[in-house]
Symmetry: C2
Subunit: 336 residues, 2 copies
DNA sequence: CGCGGTCGTCGAAGCGCTTCAATGTTGCCG
DNA sequence: CGGCAACATTGAAGCGCTTCGACGACCGCG
């Protein structure tokens, strides 16, 4: 394996010059730089990661803490993971995967060993036990904790998404609407995304003078049947439905059909879910969506900026980004 | 951050003794070891990863190359990724994520920089362009390439899975069966898993004297409708269906129902898909499954054994593991 | 009692890189 | 033409760890 000394010898300069030429931290004459670049290419030189980390005091690695939980829509997690990896590479960083089963200790280990310069925490809960473990480690959170003090966070603007749903249904003339949400356990756990969506929806629905019901719902056929049954029993005049539980979408459409309601003529359904999911139903679903890719990309920018700030001895600025959602009108909503 | 020297000072020994105590590469008296362990705990010492990699000539990191493709069932990928991470941690290894968009160069970079000691390639194709880039890097492949010469591979035994389907349908008395496969493009690409399943199914079906049709099928409602339509037109007496395309399962069940066939009374459906998927349909699907977790675990064992072999100067043995599939009988198959 | 052999410990070298202080070189101004 | 920048380059130190060879202490054996 070629070392920096090999390159230096081949280019007829000293190792330090090669280092400076490659890092650009000091000016190097064009002539010298060219010779060095040629030698690097010829020898297929790549700096040794360990040595670089040791001497340079940064590992050029960020850690990505993925959840083990499976009650979230997994493809989204994967999408975020790949967008994080791609975005990190743009900064010449690599991505280390850590799972929750090591718990907060995993994060402590990274901090203490200098393996990673920063962390991205996915699927952050309101009161996430991983946050205290961060210590001095630079971090970006995907999801909003209760107390984001001094941390960088990025998330979908779920409140805006909820509001968008209310707007759309109100615009179409619906007066009685129902919100079919996540499983009760999720609300009990005070998952931020679930609550914020609901709050946004509720507020805007009230502004529009809509009457509405919220029904938590397990993402199963039976769960959905129960939720829908109670909605139609409590308020049979309901014509607008908002679903935030991926598992309930298919059942809901079937149940509406079998109860004699045609979508979108008799009932409008609007989903809070990824594009791909919304498109694969019949009828294709009007949906409010956020970009998972964007989430990952921004989280990377946030850690990167924190890392470079902390390298310069500055106090990294905290930062909160809420990504605006998009409403895509498809075939499942219509005027009443 | 505490260093090995700090620990040594606190324990009243030399740094090398601490190193030996922690690695166990040389005997250390119980008394000394205890003092060292106490100091380690008190100081919260974790060896610096960079220094360890530099001096020890191994990074304690394996890379995991995940596909960017989305025409595979993503949760499986995620499951493999987490099981790899968990298994790697058991060996005190961490996992670095690399995506295909860097292509073979990404792998070359890892090899040259010594960032990773080994690689696991997921979703390996028959003629995978990443394989030549491996060079001297220790690797395990998840999936079977055309020429696994000298490499370690692990995959589901798709042929056995296909055979299991044929067995089950034959046992139940079905004589005319259909295999609803992946999209034609997948067969044209000669994806190993698709072909092997089909081969295994075909051979066993013939042994049982079954008559059967194979229909590639896009994973959409329309695609499935077309495939099923042709099957029922060509051979209306077909009563057994094997589906290997996740996207076709839902549509198939609906289509059978609307064509007046009750499952499992009039037609049996057996799916080649993950458990979780099979369970969520009504009726719950009889399915042939392999364990994704196991795939990841074994791949890790394979790289680990190769890494330690190569550290000892031995030639790592190649290894091929095909995981036997399991048939889980649920509600979608019955005697005819 | 002396010799070889363990056993436990230590000092020092070195892994490949970054970075600082210092050196040599050139060019410009007064 | 002397002196002082500014620039390009270098040697050497050191990051924190592993590992090798060496050393002293202690044991049992002849």
């Amino acid at each position: 394996m070629a070392t920096i000394a090999d390159v230096a010898r081949a280019a007829g300069v000293s190792p330090s010059t090669v280092s400076y030429a490659l890092s650009g931290k000091r000016p190097v004459s064009d002539e010298t730089r060219r010779r060095i670049e040629r030698s690097v290419a010829e020898l297929g030189y790549h700096p040794n990661a360990g040595a670089r980390a040791l001497a340079g005091k940064r590992a050029h690695i960020i850690a990505l803490a993925v959840p083990l939980r499976t009650d979230v829509y997994v493809p989204i997690m994967m999408e975020i993971a790949t967008s994080v990896t791609v975005a990190a590479r743009k900064h010449s960083y690599d991505v280390l995967l850590i799972t929750n089963d090591e718990g907060p200790d995993g994060i402590r280990r990274l901090t203490a060993s200098g393996l990673a310069d920063g962390v991205i925490l996915m699927d952050v809960e309101l009161d996430d036990k991983r946050i205290p473990a961060l210590g001095k480690m630079q971090a970006a959170l995907i999801g909003l904790p209760e107390a984001p003090g001094g941390l960088s966070c990025v998330d979908h603007d779920f409140a805006a998404a909820g509001a968008l749903c209310a707007d759309h249904l109100a615009d179409l003339g619906h007066r009685d609407v129902a919100f079919i949400g996540y499983a009760p356990g999720i609300y009990r756990r005070h998952a931020g995304y679930a609550e914020r969506t609901l709050v946004g929806f509720r507020a805007r629905a009230q502004e529009h003078g809509l009457r509405f019901l919220h029904r938590p719902c397990e993402g199963t056929y039976e769960g959905t049947a129960g939720a829908l049954g109670r909605i139609l029993a409590d308020r049979p005049e309901t014509t607008g439905f908002v679903v935030q539980n991926e598992g309930a979408i298919g059942p809901l459409l079937n149940l509406l059909r079998t109860s004699g309601r045609t979508v979108p003529e008799d009932a409008s359904v609007i989903a809070l879910c990824p594009e791909r999911l919304a498109e694969q139903y019949t009828p294709a679903l009007t949906a409010v969506t956020g970009s998972a890719k964007e989430l990952g990309r921004i989280a990377v920018e946030q850690v990167m900026s924190r890392i470079s700030a902390s390298m310069c001895g500055e106090q990294p600025a905290d930062d909160l980004v809420l990504l605006p959602p998009t409403l895509t009108i498809r075939e499942s909503t219509g005027p009443i």
